[in-house]
Amino acid sequence: MSVNDTQRVDLEVVANLIPSQSRVLDVGSGDGSLLELLQDTKQVDGRGLELSQRGVNECVARGLSVIQGDADKDLEFYPDKGFDFVVLSQTLQATRNPKLVLDELLRIGERAIVSFPNFGHWRVRLSLFVQGRMPVTKDLPYSWYDTPNIHFCTIRDFVNLCDELGATVEKATALDANGQKIGLSMPWWFWNFFGQQAVFLLRR
């Protein structure tokens, strides 16, 4: 997944939710940007799980503690409450079983931080409504036939899933097209319409 400016903002939002010296598992750690950011600025004890072997090897070569693995299959090997925070950044939509993965995140971490592209954003809706085609946007740059993303959801869908799993939303942030946080006082429907990405802090 290419890292563009909006996603970097997303990483910063995630990082700001994590206190210094926490134990963090980053699921879908990609090129290790978040882990490196957390290690350098927060002295966290960070571990990563990443699907692509190339990504893993690069991370390890950079001194990060990362293993190759699949969020859908390998989370079961981690102990209950083994980490202060488990982060799933821009990966939920690429998992085969998002509900199970989210459930595992809440089991492994005292807190879970999940960020995802909002499929309810107005551009997405407009694209589907006007063009009648699967949307391709800055945050969702793939064509429907060639995408790792198989389970899109909207902010509203995600909140419903959290309810179903008995997860408490401690904090939620929606980011607009410029990566700016949308005001906290806005109602859910507003976030669901104008948020391009969402970041949730959850616990159970």
Partner: protein, 389 residues
């Protein structure tokens, strides 16, 4: 080469060319087999300087037929150390920065007590009178060596294959003595297939009429043919089909046509014969039996009630595991099951699988991705240990 051939005895076994630490009757080595080894000795090499805090020591564990000469010219073969691509001044494992220790394992034949060593009770080589040695026994002896240097905590223990088993044993049995662990191309147990290959090798040695029930030194003989066959069979398992095909294919050796006989028509045949022949020049047949047995017996999970994660419960050691895609002796799944166990134990673990067609032996070769992983892991562990850049 001359050492073993000359008098048909192994001078390196008793009087190695490397430093040797001797333990008298007051310091016996407890063995898993139930007895003790006493007196006994460990031959070793060191490189670099131990810092004042004694915090920069790296223990390198050798593989089945390796030895302590990891980064210096081997006195028996005259060849470079077996990991000189990795270890040396300014190299990935920098001897200007770290203090490297490599010992010949107990049961070996290059100066640590093994079947070729003189049994003080008889004045003759132990032969099969030496009790069976296990991986934990080897590590227990290494611990005594490490204690001798006054090293409280090793900065890193690393090794491949049988050396990787020792790394796992170190991390499991002495977690407080190991800051970081780097097991490469190894497993937490020897698989049934691996035991099978080892049995073929042992049977080849024991079927050689010159083996004489393990007492060949008494006859001034050595079971060279059997040991060479054992090595040939084992050597195939260290490579991969793809690498063999790339290197040899069905190419003929020094001829244009098949001879319709049993000469080494194919290059692969003469290659294996050469591997077998050079091996008997540097290795003791009984030692091969003991070393292969030690690997066969290794089963870290079984030592912990069948649950591998329990072998690492509460560990603070930082781990990095490495496997190779074409290694069929210790396939990636073996490493992955260790990684899962370490995850379950909440350990800090990295895991790199390197894409190569060079098979198990890739850990001894110049593999840039392997070096990058080791470099990244050691560097980050050194920062965490306060060893500076």
């Amino acid at each position: 080469m001359a050492v073993l051939r000359a008098g048909k005895t192994n001078n390196e076994a008793d009087q190695p060319s490397s430093p040797v630490l001797r333990f008298g009757p007051d310091k016996p080595l407890k063995l898993d087999a139930g007895s003790v080894l006493s007196p006994f000795q460990i031959a070793y090499q060191t490189y670099g300087t131990l810092n004042d805090a004694r915090s920069n020591a790296i223990l390198v564990c050798h593989a089945l037929t390796g030895d302590q000469h990891v980064a210096n010219t081997n006195p028996v073969t005259g060849k470079p150390g077996w990991w000189e691509v990795l270890i040396g001044p300014g190299k990935i494992i920098d001897t200007n920065r770290f203090f490297i220790i490599c010992s010949n394992v107990i049961g070996g034949c290059l100066g640590s007590t093994g079947p070729a060593s003189t049994n003080p009770a008889t004045g003759k080589p132990y032969g099969l009178d030496l009790p069976i040695i296990t991986i934990p026994d080897m590590v227990r002896a290494q611990l005594m060596l490490v204690d001798h240097f006054g090293i409280e905590k090793l900065f890193c223990v690393l090794g491949g294959s049988m050396g990787g088993m020792q790394v796992l044993e170190w991390a499991s049995s002495y977690p407080e003595r190991v800051f970081s662990a780097l097991p490469i191309a190894t497993g937490a147990r020897h698989s049934s297939q691996n035991i099978a290959f080892h049995e073929v090798g042992r049977q080849a040695v024991m079927a050689d009429p010159e083996w004489h029930g393990g007492k060949y030194f008494d006859y001034g003989k050595r079971p060279e043919k059997g040991l060479a066959v054992a090595r040939m069979a084992a050597h195939i398992t260290y490579l991969s089909e793809a690498a063999l095909h790339r290197k040899f294919g069905r190419n003929l050796q020094d001829r244009d046509a098949l001879t319709f006989g049993f000469d080494a028509d194919f290059q692969i045949e003469s290659y294996l014969r050469h591997q077998g022949m050079t091996f008997v020049d540097r290795f003791d047949a009984n030692s091969y039996l003991y070393m292969t047995r030690a690997m066969d017996y290794f089963d870290l999970a079984a030592d912990h009630g069948g649950r591998l994660a329990d072998a690492f419960a509460g560990t603070k050691t930082r781990f990095c595991l490495v496997s190779f895609t074409s290694d069929w002796l210790f396939p990636t799944e073996e490493s992955r099951s260790i990684v899962h166990a370490l995850n379950a134990a909440g350990a800090s673990v990295s895991f790199v699988e390197i894409e190569t067609d060079r098979g198990h032996d890739a850990f001894l070769l110049d593999e840039p991705e392997l070096f990058a992983a080791i470099n990244g892991f050691i560097g980050s562990a050194a920062r965490a240990r306060g060893l500076g850049a």
